[in-house]
């Protein structure tokens, strides 16, 4: 079952429809409800390598629906500590639970202050409303 629309207020958002959950010098990343809804049922997740360095505002992986491919843009820079292997096997979990079980990677931040430039939930909702 697809999730109903929501944007948790404890997350930081990137304008390319990605979220970050900050935890000290680490963060968990994923795509927002809006992104998974726009794509439709996800059928493939092409993850980065663990240990790989990823950079803010650049693609670190790809998600695909039956009809479309989309880059996943990193909201923050850092080193990939863990890829959610469950999503590689069952990408539809992103549709069912985009902010929980559907997380994509966990990273160690190389520039924690970058988080200051991300959107809070109100700003992200405003961005969606303006589209």
């Amino acid at each position: 079952m697809a999730a109903t629309e929501s944007y948790p207020d404890d997350l930081r958002y990137h304008a390319e429809h990605d979220w970050a959950r900050l935890d000290g010098d680490e963060a968990t990343l994923g795509i927002t409800w809006f992104a998974q809804d726009a794509l439709g049922e996800l059928v493939h997740y092409e993850p980065p390598e663990e240990g790989q360095t990823i950079s803010k505002d650049t693609p670190y992986g790809e998600v695909e629906s039956v009809k479309a491919v989309s880059d996943v843009i990193s909201p923050l820079s850092g080193e990939v500590l863990e890829v959610n292997a469950k999503i590689v096997d069952e990408p539809e979990i992103v549709n069912e639970d985009p902010y929980g079980e559907g997380w994509l990677v966990r990273i160690r931040l190389s520039a924690p202050s970058e988080a200051d430039s991300l959107l809070d939930v109100d700003a992200y909702r405003q961005l969606l409303a303006d589209q």
């Binding site: 439709g40 049922e41 059928v43 493939h44 092409e46 695909e64 629906s65 039956v66 009809k67």
Partner: protein, 351 residues
Amino acid sequence: MQTLQRTPLHDRHVALGARMVPFAGWEMPVQYAGVIPEHRAVRTDCGVFDVSHMGELEVEGPRAGDLLQALLSNDLARVAVGGAQYTLLTNEQGGIVDDLIVYRLDECRYLLIVNASNAKVDHDWLKEREIRGSDVRDLSDECALLAVQGPRSIERLGLDEAPPFTFASGEIDGVECMVNRTGYTGERGVELLVASDDAPALWDAVLDRGAVPCGLGARDTLRLEVCYPLHGNDITPETDAISAGLGWVCALDTDFTGVDELRRIKAEGPARRLAAFVMRKKAIPRSGMRIEEGGEVTSGSLSPMLDVGIGMGYVPAELAQPGTDLTIDVRGRPRRAEVVKKPIYKREESP
């Protein structure tokens, strides 16, 4: 800005929450609940597609048959009144202007149901070649077309069994329509041609009978699983029928546009062939991707039934044999695929 045409069912699609997309100059539903559940509904039960964007051309007159026999690849003489035939409109080079189904309405009258993107090209092509005693008319604006497909489709519509590639006039819950035993999914089913004004009533009746509304997304994955070519992707005016594996719809003993070229390609053997393949590594092939051994992907998707990436593409003829390994360049990542026999998906026959 281009204005998109709308089918008579546009409001129905919007009310059902369909995602509407531009396609061949039309605003069409790509999905309702989702491509995968819609695809499965057609493989296991019954789905309905609005394919009113397709073109309908009528060719009438004492020499209508002569005109069409000279322009279409298949042997029209083998089609009796009440019968239908899959055939190709070919150019002088043996290339495919369009693929279509011709229905013989009576001795001197034929209906051609053609791809939306080619409806105007086809009409002009036929019109320019009209001969005395043949008249070509475009009926597309007057007609809507619903494809009702799936193993339970005939039962759900309350129809009698009939052989594939036949048609009859009929009605569904009081709505008169032409009931065609044809389709583009590899399943049993019908295509219902109906007057535009009656289309909403027919759509409602078909949904009431339990058909699941399906969009163009599922239509594409269904046809790809059974390796039906898509014009504009797998077959074009630059590709010939022999290389595309459509030699079986070319009556090379008859005389039609491009037949000499097709005879030559058949005799010499095509340099490349349209092969079907399945990914052996997790990846989804897409149209336009390079095949490292030669050629490129012309259609690709995930197979909802097999849950693997599948596709078709032109490869050097010697690589078109089932079992041959191919490497698909998936946005810079080489991913292994294997050529398989067509169709890619076949229902397991009950013992």
